[in-house]
Amino acid sequence: MNGLLHLWLIPALPLAGFLINGLVGRRLPKALVTTVALLTPLGAFAVVLGNAFGTFGGAPAATLPLVETFGSWLNVGTLHIDFSFVLDQLSLVMLLVVTGVGFLIHIYSVGYMAHDEGYARYFSYLNLFLFFMTTLVLAGNALVMFVGWEGVGLASYLLIGFWFEKKTAADAGKKAFIVNRIGDFGFLIGMFLLLANFGTLSFSEIATKLTQSGWTGGLITMIALCLLLGATGKSAQLPLYIWLPDAMEGPTPVSALIHAATMVTAGVYMMARLHVLFDHSPFALSTVAVIGGATALFAATIALVQTDIKRVLAYSTISQLGYMFMACGVAAYSAAIFHLMTHAFFKALLFLAAGSIIHGTGGEQDMRRMGGLKKFMPITFLTMTIAVLAITGFPPLAAFFSKDAILSAAFMQGELGKILWFVGLVTALLTSFYMFRLWYLTFLGEHRAHAPEEEGAAVHARHDTRLTLEAEHAHEPHESPWSMLGPLVLLAILSVIGGWIGAERFGAYLAPSVGTRTAEAASSSLEWTLTGLAVFVALLGWFIADRMYRTKPESADRLATSMAGPYKLLVHKYWVDEFYGAVVVKPLMATSTYVLGWVVDKAVIGGAAWLLGGLATFAGALLQRWQSGNIRSYAAWVAAGAAALLLFVIVPWTSVLANFGIHLNMAGH
């Protein structure tokens, strides 16, 4: 098995990197930390590549899926869960993305985090993330996947709160962790239901049983919806998306790797992995599709008015993930994974380019204070342009193919599908607009670094990262070092060619893992019309952005004032955080403080403890009078005791009591 097997190496290498850098990294020289941090993901990537070539080249269908079992994990009664890894087409694609993009972002981080005190800590977390993510992807059953699932959540928490001295960062980490718990609750319940009804958590066995039994209806829907809740948490969909924008408090490479390219796609991956369940429940599928469509549109509208460059990208990520959900919802899993892959390329690129901008401008994140950066950082400008063109879906860049696949798949899926297609098209228009808005605001026009801060609208500006300290001396924006530009260029190339394999061939390759869609194929003329429309709205979005931010820069403000209501709604992100705060957080806090804290803890538990203590004290106070220290009183008690004993022995109690009509039930009576 040339280069095959040894799947365990894929997560084990990053784990080793985590252990080395995490335990002794602070005492090691920086060069060694860097070497360890870069070599371990590179090694993992090499193993994945070896496996990929082994399967692409040889006899692909025969060797996949490849199962590696490392012994039994749980063996209780009929319950039998192995610690097993599965390599099939789906996990192979995911692994290539995770380790490949992950490795590039590791390189980028070397430049980005060069001056940070927590250099070793940062890389140990990043390696830890790769360990858990590869475990998640390779998992052969839901329990192993859950380990990875929780683990990436942990890594995400650690990295969002990486600059934990900053309260907003620490809070954002907690928020991400807690919101994800809600989703994990759904995942757990789904697993329990699977165990109870299928008796197994192994993906392949579930698929077999489900196909054989042909179950449909309530139970499957229930399981699928529970899993969907888990997916919405991890993949930042409505209604649990709120943690992702705040997750931008973490270092920008982290935003690129975890909160754009890989971890947030875990929900999509999970649904593709368990697609059999969703396929057996039309209702759950429609729910997935509606959530995806709604999220795509919802997040795109918010992204229109954000001024923090990373927040625009965060909402864009949520919106793109919505596309993937939409694809899953119309059972076009291969399209979802296709978009997942291309999205990983161009969104990582967008974030890394944004990171390069932030790095080059000394920690500036507010787009209103950027502008004209084209001449300062040409390579960043070039790669960012490619990324913007890629995400907006210009041919022949990556998202043109993958978004088109999703939209046409949706269009073919009945009436709901038509609505979703329309929503997707509008979202594409919005996407194009806000991406070109970002592009114009950052790179073109005048440099506005010293523009006076506008009052009121600056609420969301966050330009207080540590990088400020480091680049204080640099007054002029400057281009980033090559350790950062290299990954940018590579990702730019991937963003261009990532879609060239084509949805058809990609779907055919993934078919053994996720099945083939049984929808009617679109006629080629319809196909061309749909594609043409998608490109048209992308151009339209560009045109509007061009009008508003280049030719007539004052028109944007005019629009904002003339439509003050909707504008305010968007700037405040529909007040969803405030809504959750009032409906969920406040009541919870109040319940915790008053009911649990005061009534249960202080009154009931504290009261019980106080009562017991008081009783003991009281009894002690009474009994201490016995221990008078007066020898004669002791002697008197001894005498009294002896007298009582005598009385007990001498008096014939049975007959005495019998006189009073009391009969003791003695033996032999």
């Binding site: 221990q627 008078s628 220290g629 020898i631 004669r632 008197a636 005498a639």
Partner: protein, 107 residues
């Protein structure tokens, strides 16, 4: 008259005497203040027990009871030696033998 003296003293009389002596000992122990009197009351109780030992030994023709009496006497003698020494030492330090005053343990 002869028959009266020829009769053995009944067992119960001895036991009653023993009980009376023991009760006197207890009462003395409890109500007397002087340490030496208290000490004597303890001796009285011991000897009350001795009496009942001898009585039963005689009654059942068992020598064990009499042997026990010797043991008790021996221990009592040792105790008297030690106890009187302690009492003298206490008197030297506290200049009193009233048990109510020798009550350092009292709360």
């Amino acid at each position: 008259m002869n028959s009266f003296f020829a009769q053995e003293v009944p067992l119960s009389w001895y036991l009653l005497l023993s009980a009376a002596l023991f009760a006197l000992g207890i009462v003395g122990f409890l109500i007397k203040r002087n340490l030496i009197t208290v000490f004597m009351s303890i001796e009285l109780m011991l000897n009350a027990v001795n009496l009942s030992f001898v009585t039963f030994a005689h009654q059942w023709h068992a020598v064990k009871g009499q042997i026990f009496v010797f043991f008790v006497m021996m221990v009592a003698a040792a105790e008297a030696a030690v106890g009187l020494a302690i009492i003298i030492a206490v008197f030297r330090v506290r200049a009193t033998l009233a048990v109510d005053r020798i009550d350092l343990m009292k709360l």
